[in-house]
């Protein structure tokens, strides 16, 4: 997190790894601010992923896996790595204000 931190984020609570502690406190504006802090400017393609992640979370209580995202949205694996560099499922969950996706066993 090097880029400018929006004042909007000052009242938002994050855990030690930078995930929002309360998904209900999230708004699209907060999402954009988190993305900006991560050096990502959100496009329509990003929002496809973020909105899907929010929907999935509302339905299942879990952020979606990478495979679930690429299977359910028009964004394929190659593109999602470009949109959300690093770990795409993790980064998307962070911007969507969700908890850390549970690791695999």
């Amino acid at each position: 997190m090097t880029n400018q931190i929006s004042p909007l984020l000052q009242s938002v609570e994050f855990d030690a790894e930078g995930f929002m502690t309360d998904p209900n406190a999230w708004t699209p504006e907060i999402g954009s601010a988190i993305a900006q802090a991560l050096g990502i400017t959100l496009t329509d393609r990003h929002w496809l992923v973020i909105n899907f992640a929010r929907q999935e979370f509302a339905a299942t209580g879990q952020p979606p896996t990478l495979r679930k995202i690429t299977k359910s949205t028009p964004v394929d694996t190659k593109e999602i790595y470009q949109l959300f560099p690093g770990g795409p499922a993790k980064t998307a969950a962070r911007i969507a204000g969700l908890g850390k996706p549970t690791g695999c066993i």
Partner: protein
């Protein structure tokens, strides 16, 4: 006459058939089990084939030998499951089976085609898997005459069955090349999508150390995009390239295609279950054992065995109109071969991370948890005998199905 239908006669299905045959009255119940393959594979043994410790003959036996006579075994592909109709369609003679209870034990399988370039050009020439008999045998032929070079071991994506097997492969390879006197001519690299050597942080730290002690390079968070067989290199989504002389891959693991065809699976074709009761989340007469479910624990034979007792009890309770008991705690354990006739045992569940300590096995123990010792190696080698002679019959094992904290240091 009522029908209990079991799909898949691997580790989980075979154990379930054996146990249920003991509990159900044959004048009231018919037990049918279906599998496409007449052979039963002892999959943990695949690991030893590349190094000539086992041959394919050591790990294959006829399925029929492990099932009691009152169980009807049908060899056929399963075409479709229709859970709303309590019905399963088989390919063979278009047979249709109506069931009262269904146990799904169709496991997980390899899908190398998921990675572009994997099955082109180099497949089974200098690109091998060791999660199948054919792959492990082909790799054995290759390694026998290999003079050395760069070996890259890659896990394509998680989850995979037996998540420690790639590390065991590496430890055994290190030992094997030492024995052959060519260890100094072999570079070994482990490229994994995980942030470290293993999934659980404590075990990961210890196993990571064991890699560096053996001069094995760990390339973490490597998410493979493609195998470039023309140039003998693998490329990740973030454009890292790793050249190889031989690539040993653990391809994408997925649940059976029939689960997808039947609209019963998640994005990897695993059947959603209640992780504590093993009952399907959607159909109350459908139950799942072993690798086929989405329960968030390791996909391993030991897990299927820990699930067995709970599955049997819950099936019998449900048949009597009682509620299932939420007793499965995600218990998993694994003997890890670390080469030079040593091994490690790790043991964990949904909530408890692998702990250092001794594992109490009445009559067998103690096996050291997370510490290399020769006893653990013999534990693994002995396990093949236990698997064929005790485990598949669903008999009592010297393990408890709910994790016992005795003997562990916390």
């Amino acid at each position: 006459m009522k029908t209990l239908l079991i799909l898949g006669a691997g580790t989980g299905g075979t154990m379930t058939a054996n146990q249920m045959a003991r509990h159900l009255d044959p004048t009231e119940w018919k037990i049918i089990i279906v599998d496409r393959d007449e052979n039963h594979y002892y999959q943990p043994g695949f690991l030893f084939i590349p190094f000539g410790i086992y041959t394919s003959g050591d790990v294959i036996k006829p399925k029929r030998n492990f099932l009691p006579p009152q169980v009807e075994m049908i060899f056929s592909d399963i075409e479709l499951i229709e859970p709303d109709e309590n019905r399963v369609r088989l390919t063979r003679q278009n047979r249709v089976i109506h069931y009262d209870y269904l146990v799904i034990a169709t496991g997980t399988h390899l899908v190398p085609e998921e990675t572009p370039g994997m099955v082109d050009g180099g497949w089974r020439k200098n690109v091998f898997d060791f999660y199948s008999v054919d792959g492990a045998t082909a790799l054995n032929r290759f390694l026998k005459f290999w003079k050395g070079g760069r070996m890259v071991v890659n896990v394509v994506e998680m989850p995979i069955k037996c998540p420690v097997a790639p590390l065991e492969f590496i430890f055994l390879a290190d030992w094997f090349f030492h024995q052959r006197g060519i260890r100094d001519k072999v570079e070994i690299i482990f490229a994994t999508p995980l942030p470290g050597a293993f999934t659980k942080p404590r075990a990961s730290a210890i196993l990571g150390n064991m890699l560096s002690e053996r001069q094995i390079r760990l390339e973490s968070e490597f998410n493979i995009m493609e195998v470039d067989a023309g140039n003998n290199l693998i490329r990740s989504y973030d454009n890292r390239e790793i050249p190889y002389d031989v690539l040993v891959t653990v391809p994408t693991n997925m649940g059976a295609d029939v689960i997808e065809r039947s609209g019963m699976g998640d994005e990897l074709n695993y059947v959603p279950v209640n992780k504590h009761t093993l009952q399907s989340q959607r159909w109350e007469n459908v139950w799942v054992i072993g690798d086929a479910s989405n329960a968030p624990t390791s996909k391993a034979g030991s897990v299927a065995h820990f699930q067995l007792e709970i599955l049997i009890e819950n099936l019998l309770r449900h048949m009597e109109g009682l509620d299932p008991l939420p007793k499965f705690d995600g218990h998993a354990n694994c003997f890890i071969e670390s080469g030079f006739e040593k091994g490690i045992l790790i043991d964990f569940n949904y909530d408890v991370e692998p702990l250092p300590g001794k594992f109490p096995l009445p009559g067998f123990g103690p096996f050291s948890l997370l510490k290399e010792s020769p006893v653990n190696h013999w534990g693994k080698m002995m396990f093949r005998w236990i698997y064929w002679n005790v485990l598949l019959k669903g008999e009592e094992m010297p393990f408890e199905s709910q994790m016992s904290m005795a003997g562990k240091w916390s």
